[in-house]
Symmetry: C2
Subunit: 814 residues, 2 copies
């Protein structure tokens, strides 16, 4: 029996070897030694069980044996399957993205057409009624779906592949595959009568499944159509990740829903790769920006950049691009209702003769600087508001829905009221477009104006976001908008998008920021007036770039996305300049929006760079005890006891006398593998090692990683007292090549190892012999600044920390 099994439960609870498995963040908040305000969870009552993914391959004897016995055919099958899966992901995400756009354009389009027609007929009261009630109903539908079926779909979930819930555990909660949900429902009906215990589990799983098909897709369509200023890119990224995650899980073996040909991917590594491809496909589908989407996934999400992954993600986004191209071809023939001439949201801003000179640089620089300030201010406000919303949302579902509805009503009133402030403009005589526009989207909405006139502010407001952006980006329209209308529209968008983001509905930030930025840029273009050779549409593009740069803080992917959106490569140097300036300026104030939201939600996101104070610490300074470990041949009773009393996910395996003369570190065994061993009950009567040949009853599938939420539980394994006295040979199932660091290793360098190799457990070994061969285990949690500063409060007051607090971003590039 291992020496530490007897340690008190108190201790175990205080230090959990693999903290990622505990419920985050509420538990953390209660127990956290430091009262860090950033730990407040926004999701409110939702307690999210986080289980870390692992890029490490568990190289145990069993795995190697299995590897050796597999033939060449297996490899080709595996490779073929992996590519097929990417193809499927691209296809499904592309289809979802297209139909999402189609639905939004049509639902919102009909709403606007009906409203406009009433306005043309001067039935202002009716128009307002139709507008506000339809918005309210759409919001209500979105909120109800989200709040009751999948509260986790709130907001946008830019997943980052550190094995965080965004892409793993949580991803599948909302996975949007109709078929599976239906299948689950049938099974549920069938099982619920037969076995109570199984039924509960099945019910849970089905509950998980059925929410998918609605929430992200349908919820997003309703929310975006309801004139709330929220985007569709975020939900699309999440949808892409969900599709990938579900396909990668290959169904559930428990409920007979297994696709045998998907058994290859039952490991974290493949799943994580697939999810990266899925998110890339999500952005590619929402913006028709395949290269931009790919870069977004790599810049913002992937923790591990491999050339193979790059190529596979490229393939996925290529499928999306080709599919969208083909579908838009179909729409060109006018079969897609109000979808328009099939631009998806390609805001074609091409003009053959763009020329700009040195005189254009100063206004563009100023635009970038102000855009950076606005972007960081946007982030600041959004984070504060999310905290307030959190307090409201925490009170219950009714509060959540009430909040969403109030925002909807407020938005409707504001949007309907504002155009009255704008002066009516006479229709231009030289336009090819109909003026005022009747029955479709266009630049000249009549609103309250007399015949032959149009309301420029209404033209922006009574359009979908995509059309508004198209109008703002369009060239040759310099005289169509007034100062006052543009500035009113800018301020409205700026605050409404912040206000709308936190409500209980799937929402993205990308499109709102583009709308806001475009109106800001157009305003700057108007101010500069004739002192520039760029037209106002190009200023709008630059303005969108500056606000995106100031808020999202990406560089290459944003640049490529904007290029792909506007189809204008000649503008590239200016866009690069604006992005650089705005990002630099904004970085002086706060972090990027994703990091802020992630931090506010309390997710243990590991930064790639080490904090300076980590160089002053060794890993021994942050390792906390006591350590749980097993012997190579362990008594079944001990294993069960340790598994029951702790929630650790990995245990070192140590060989002692008589197997080895001195204690030797054999490797690391995972909880999931131990549970499988216990379930199969392949116990030994004597504590003597047997070869791998003794375990013929196991196949690789038994040790495959389960789908999330679908793991074994120690409480479900019932063993007799006799069985408890038998022995388990852990050797064949222990990962004999765990990554290790010596206890004198600097914490900063251990973090680099942990992050670069994408680990879940890192063993700490002693510097001198004669002690136990392992002195601790490091997990993600041990590298979190909150944990470290909790153990070493003096560091908070050190010069470095202060500097870090005052200039949070500047050190990132150090």
């Amino acid at each position: 029996m291992s020496s530490t099994v007897n340690s008190s439960n108190d201790h175990d609870d205080n230090h959990v070897q693999d903290q990622e498995s505990i419920t985050f963040p509420l538990l953390r908040r209660e127990r956290s030694p430091i009262n860090s305000s950033s730990q407040v969870a926004i999701v409110g009552s939702y307690v999210c069980p986080i289980e870390s993914l692992d890029y490490e391959i568990a190289e145990n004897d069993f795995f190697k044996q299995d590897w050796r016995t597999r033939g060449k055919a297996y490899i080709f099958q595996y490779i073929f399957m992996k590519w097929s899966l990417c193809f499927l992901i691209g296809l499904i995400v592309g289809l979802i993205g297209f139909f999402n756009n189609l639905a939004v354009e049509n639902i919102a389009g009909i709403k606007f057409v009906v409203t406009s027609n009433m306005m043309l007929a001067s039935k202002y009261g009716f128009a307002f009624l139709v507008f506000s009630v339809s918005n309210l109903v759409l919001t209500l539908l979105a909120a109800i779906i989200t709040a009751f079926i999948a509260p986790t779909a709130t907001g946008s979930w830019y997943p980052r592949s550190q094995g965080l819930p965004e892409r793993s555990g949580r991803a599948c909660v909302n996975t949007p595959v109709t078929l599976r949900a239906l299948y689950c429902f049938v099974k549920r009906m069938f099982y619920l009568c037969s076995s109570s215990n199984l039924g509960i589990y099945l019910g849970l799983i089905c509950w998980y499944c059925s929410c998918l098909l609605n929430v992200q897709i349908v919820g997003s369509i309703f929310a975006v159509s309801s004139s709330l200023l929220i985007g569709k890119a975020g939900p699309m990224v999440h949808t892409g990740a969900c599709v990938a995650s579900l396909l990668g899980q290959g169904g559930s073996s428990k409920y007979g829903l297994t696709w045998k040909w998907l058994r290859f991917f039952k490991n974290d590594r493949d799943r994580r790769d697939l999810v990266t491809c899925g998110s890339a496909a999500g952005i590619a589908a929402s913006f028709r920006a395949p290269v931009g989407g790919l870069l977004f996934a790599l810049e913002e999400m992937a923790s591990w950049w491999r050339s193979a992954l790059l190529w596979r993600a490229f393939f996925t986004t290529a499928i999306v691009a080709i599919l969208l191209r083909a579908l838009i071809d179909v729409c060109l023939s006018g079969k897609c209702g109000l979808f328009g001439k099939g631009g998806l949201i390609m805001y074609d801003a091409y003009s053959a003769n763009i020329s700009y000179h040195l005189v254009d640089l100063p206004p563009v620089l100023i635009l970038g600087i102000v855009g950076g300030i606005l972007g960081s201010f946007y982030n600041f406000l959004l984070e504060k508001l999310l905290r307030v919303y959190n307090l409201i949302n925490e009170k219950g579902v009714a509060y959540k829905i009430f909040l969403a509805l109030s925002i909807s009503i407020f938005t409707s009133c504001l949007l309907f009221g504002l155009p009255w402030l704008a002066k009516c403009l006479p229709c231009p005589s030289d336009t090819s477009e109909q003026c005022p526009t009747i029955g479709r989207s266009g630049n000249y909405k009549k609103f309250q104006c007399p015949p032959g006139h149009y309301n420029d502010l209404a033209s922006l407001i009574f359009n979908t976001n995509d059309d508004a952006i198209k109008n703002l980006f369009s060239s040759g329209t310099d005289s169509e908008f007034q100062y006052s209308s543009i500035i009113i529209f800018f301020i409205t968008c700026f605050f409404l998008s912040i206000l709308s983001y936190g409500i209980v509905a799937p929402a993205g930030l990308f499109v709102p920021v583009i709308v806001t930025g475009a109106s800001y840029g157009r305003f700057v273009g108007m101010l500069v007036g004739h002192h520039t050779s760029l037209n106002h549409g190009l200023y709008a593009v630059l303005g969108a770039a500056s606000l995106l740069g100031g808020s999202m803080r990406m560089t290459v992917s944003l640049c490529v996305i904007i290029l792909e959106l506007t189809n204008n490569l000649l503008l590239l140097p200016l866009i690069m300049l604006v992005l650089l300036v705005s990002k630099t300026v904004a970085d002086a104030f706060n972090g990027n929006i994703y990091d802020l939201i992630m931090k506010a939600k309390g997710f243990p996101y590991l930064e790639t760079h080490a904090e300076p104070y980590m160089r002053q610490l060794t890993v021994a300074d942050v390792v906390t005890g006591p350590l749980q470990f097993f012997h190579g041949i362990e008594k079944v009773g001990n294993v069960v006891h340790v598994l029951k009393t702790t929630r650790h996910n990995g245990f070192p395996v140590i060989d002692e006398h008589p197997i080895s003369e001195k204690p030797v570190l054999y490797g690391l065994i995972l909880r999931a593998h131990l549970l499988t061993l216990l379930k199969k009950k392949s116990f030994l009567s004597t504590p003597e090692p047997v070869g791998i040949e003794a375990f013929t009853q196991f196949s690789a599938v038994d040790f495959a990683k389960r789908g999330s939420g679908n793991f074994d539980n120690i409480e479900d394994i019932h063993l007799s007292l006799e069985e408890m006295e038998l022995f388990l040979d852990l050797h064949p199932f222990t990962n004999a090549s765990p990554y290790t660091v010596v206890e004198t290793m600097s914490l900063a360098k251990a973090l680099v190892l942990f992050r670069e190799v994408a680990l879940r457990h890192l063993l700490v070994i002693p510097k001198t012999s004669g002690r136990s061969p392992v002195v601790g285990i490091l997990t993600r949690h041990d590298f979190m600044p909150e944990h470290i500063l909790g153990l070493h409060p003096l560091l908070v007051r050190s010069r470095w920390k202060r500097l870090r607090v005052r200039f949070p971003q500047i050190l990132r590039f150090f």
Copy 2:
């Protein structure tokens, strides 16, 4: 005295702890236990001393102390300097790229204009004489410069940042900074008279310096102008890396050429980052493709992908883009001679109404498949021919130049002779261009044709490569070229570009492959004829993509480069498709061209992925002895002896009695740091540890990494016999946090660690206590397949190996 110092020299030579420091590949070839044919060096007589770079920060006490004492101001200074350097790199590389283009367009332009004028006057003999002699002279100049001043500039050097000579050691040999060379020259004159020893060193350095300004820039200009089918992108990448490396080195302290403000960057990490930025700027400058250049650097070169690096490289390429835009503005006013309308090489293939449908897919797919086969065939031929050239080049400088001249004469004859085969075509009546073209580049060269006619083959041949590509990519010219001309041009380009690459001149592959691919694509377009809705120009773009994909095997960066070259985003889905298909097809046959050249040159390039057989081995299986180590307090004599008898670059430091009760691994000390300690002679009279305070005579600059080729030598340090009996306290200068693996670690996982964290040394520690705390050191060399298979010849015959040999590429994506 450490126990292994007495081991025989024989042993030391057989196993070199840090093999990267030995001369590669000739030494390797003699001693390599396996007779691997891929180890033949192409560079011939050039023996290249390779020293690995290191991403690891040497975290010793001295470093930490220095870190603590530095103020905030230092950080801001450092950050500011880093960005300034990137700015400088962008500026210099942009300028060089522009003037390179300007010179080529003008030199080659004048040649073509003179030749064309003579042809117009029917002086065919004279025209041939002018054409061939000017080509010969230009080639001769390029070859002489390259052969005599910097033989390493041969071919193109796509540097990969694993610390290989392409970007580190070698980069600075050819760094093209005029000012520094001039400075060196003056200093040389001055010093040569005063001190003989110093003079020799100085002479060497100056020799190094003076070659720069010529070889890459001037050599490339001459070579490209001489009608040889070689590109300028390769040399530009090298030039960019050189500029970055030189700026990063911050001058040479030995010769008083130090810029104090550059002292921050005297470490491998920063230098490697800067070189990545430089290479990105190189591609950006040669293609005016800032985003493509950035992605190229990241996909093909950087071994470490960090967001900070991404941003800095983005900044550098943005500077290049803005600068080029400004310079082209200047040229638009016609001040740049024959530079043309200032497109640099933006082959604007925009046409507003591209539409393609399902019927276009089959020909495009076939184009991709055949392009992939052609691309891999291209790689195959190029590699074989380089081996032949190597045999010739090895014989001496005269042979090298003779080879270059013969190729030049052959090229001239071929290019002048081929157009006679083409049928004369009547000038189109509806063209806005002058026909036949007189005195400038254009689509209608008269050559031998009667008035009112033009020779389409001559129009392609008697233009610079850039203009030929522009002609091939142009739309609305479907009837201007004949089948026979295009196919002749394609075959000529295909073989001439292979023939020209290996000669002694700076040469790239990018542009030749684009020309070849464009003619191939255009030919396919002609074959498809009216069964497609794409014009021939777009087929040429797709053909170029397919051949690039088949030869270079990049995905995202190629895609973006082609987009930026052609300014046509609507073609994106098709380009993605073609790249995917051609890369997949080509990967079934051989590796990408860079890997092939790199391998043929015998550089120890570490693949990112582990070979399957590595999973069957542990690190203990590849570690070879004997191990050299030092004690924490070591006798000076021992240090000198070990440094003199070995060429290792890193030594473990072990504390034994009386400092520690049991032997303990303290860390790793670098040869360079030991040499600094010896030079400063801060010895102790008793073997007792002293604090860091005792070393006030050292400053961080003393331990800064020197510029390559500029390192201390143990032979230059002269110590008296008394000094030899004194002691050195190594503790403060030992990196106390070296990365370690346990000897039972699987080799595959150790490789992942080595590669991901970008290490130079990896310590192997024993699994049981009681032995020495370190059992070996792994370096890059120990992970090379040749080394491993030499130690374990049975693996060669294993199933895995056979599979790997037969399907070399397919496993890469496994």
